[in-house]
């Protein structure tokens, strides 16, 4: 078995090496990949969309239909993770541990006992619980706002610098994951509940597809943002850059929601309240 696999791998690798000999050399400006379609994008992006970042204009305008379905793929992955892992029927454990914070006493509550409700005086001790750590919590508290501001900058400044909805959304989602790691998964879920997260996933896709349908309402093609010129009171070319910005915001919201959703489900094994 092992030898067969190795032979297969080496023969496939050898074939690929043989094929790579005829490929254009690295950095060749006249290579087939760079000589047919991409010069059009580079030379016409300013007059078509007035966006200097060619990557953004291709992503959200020239290939906007493709990107819409990429967003839907991400949305579907988030939903699939819920369907695979999420358990809504929580089995009541034999005993729960609660710590009374002012006195430092740990209570063990048997099955059927009265469980303290959400308050600042009690914290639940289980596999989700993280010991209090001053350095980690202070660092997270200081760093998270800057990460979020940077994420908004990356989303909003994607027209003029490297960035856009996908990158900014991932950074924004990462800030919430850092919050959940540094503080507590349960606290993070209380701050940013599962319902809001799922709603954000759907909202992002809705903004993207809704922009496309809005263009159809203004009697143009799906995702042809120049039709929105009368809505923004600008010329059609600037309207395209505004349309790209709206779409990028939608992508950012969807990606952020999916990142948080994946972390919640994977970190707790689907039992958001109980932990792994």
């Amino acid at each position: 078995m092992k030898i067969t696999g190795l032979i297969l791998l080496f023969s496939l690798g050898g074939l690929l090496f043989y094929g790579a000999i005829d490929f254009p050399s690295w950095g060749d400006p006249n290579s087939p990949a760079s000589s047919h379609l991409s010069p059009y994008y580079i030379e016409h992006t300013m007059e078509d969309t007035s966006v200097p970042n060619v990557v953004t204009s291709i992503l959200a305008d020239y290939r906007g239909y493709d990107t819409m379905f990429e967003t839907i793929v991400i949305f579907t992955a988030g939903i699939a993770c819920i369907f695979l892992l999420r358990t809504f029927k929580s089995s009541i454990p034999e005993s729960r541990m609660y710590r009374h914070i002012p006195t430092g006493i740990t209570l063990r509550i048997e099955k059927g006992g009265k469980v303290p409700d959400h308050s600042d005086h009690f914290e639940r001790i289980d596999s989700v619980w993280i010991p209090y750590d001053l350095v980690i919590r202070t660092t997270c508290r200081m760093v998270i706002p800057f990460i979020q501001v940077f994420a908004f900058y990356v989303i909003a400044h994607g027209h003029y610098s490297p960035g856009g909805g996908f990158q900014g959304g991932v950074i924004l989602g990462a800030s919430f994951v850092l919050f959940a790691l540094g503080f507590n998964l349960r606290l993070a879920i209380r701050q940013m509940s599962e319902k809001i997260t799922v709603f954000m996933c759907a909202l992002g896709v809705f903004i993207y597809a809704g922009t496309g349908i809005l263009c159809m309402v203004f009697k143009s093609n799906f995702l042809d943002y120049s039709a929105l010129a009368s809505l923004f009171a600008t010329d059609p070319i600037t309207a395209r850059s505004y349309g790209i910005l709206i779409v990028e915001i939608g992508v950012g919201i969807a990606v952020m929601g999916v990142m948080i959703l994946l972390y919640y489900n994977l970190a707790s094994g689907g039992k958001h309240k109980e932990g792994l």
Binding site: K2, G5, L9, L12, G13, L16, F17, A20, I21, F23, P24, S25, W26, G27, D28, P29, S31, A33, S34, L37, S38, P39, Y41, I42, E43, T45, M46, E47, S50, P52, N53, V54, V55, I58, L59, R63, T67, E70, V73, I74, A77, G78, A80, C81, L84, L85, Y160, S161, P162, G164, F166, G169, V170, V255, V258, L262, N265, L266, G269, G270
Partner: protein, 137 residues
């Protein structure tokens, strides 16, 4: 020898991507642990991303953000030779994020398998399922 070395250097990106791709495929084919298989899958994805990014490179070109004299001066002639190919970057930008999302689904599947079989070793799971079918018969 003095001809072979420049040839290898001019094609180095393809050779690196093939080596990485074979490493990833080795992980997918040979390893019995599902986590290791997922890591192999990710290495394979990374090799494809590297391949796409490397075919967009051009010598003496800068990144695909147009340099304008001022904000309203769109009439400056823009030469495609001066900017690297943006198309592979766009394709891989979405592919990276989709890879992260599908990685989440793969990890969810592994957690689900672990809950059902208490192991993520492929041969042990096959052994367990074989035992179950024998018992059912």
């Amino acid at each position: 020898m003095h001809e072979v070395l420049p040839f290898i250097i001019s094609k180095i990106n393809y050779f690196i991507y093939i080596i990485l791709m074979m490493l990833g495929m080795y992980g997918i084919f040979m390893k019995k642990n599902y986590m290791k298989k997922i890591i192999g899958l990710n290495i394979l994805q990374t090799s494809i991303i590297l391949f796409f990014i490397s075919i967009g490179a051009k010598n003496n070109a800068t990144l695909p953000i147009l340099e304008l004299q001022n904000d309203h001066d769109a009439n400056v002639a823009i030469q495609a030779v001066n900017y690297i190919n943006p198309l592979p970057h766009v394709l891989m930008l979405t592919a990276i994020v989709v890879a992260v999302a599908t990685l989440g689904v793969a990890l969810a599947m592994v957690i689900k398998i672990y809950k059902d079989y208490k192991t993520i070793e492929e041969d042990k799971i096959l052994f367990q399922t074989a035992e179950d079918t024998i018992e059912n018969e």
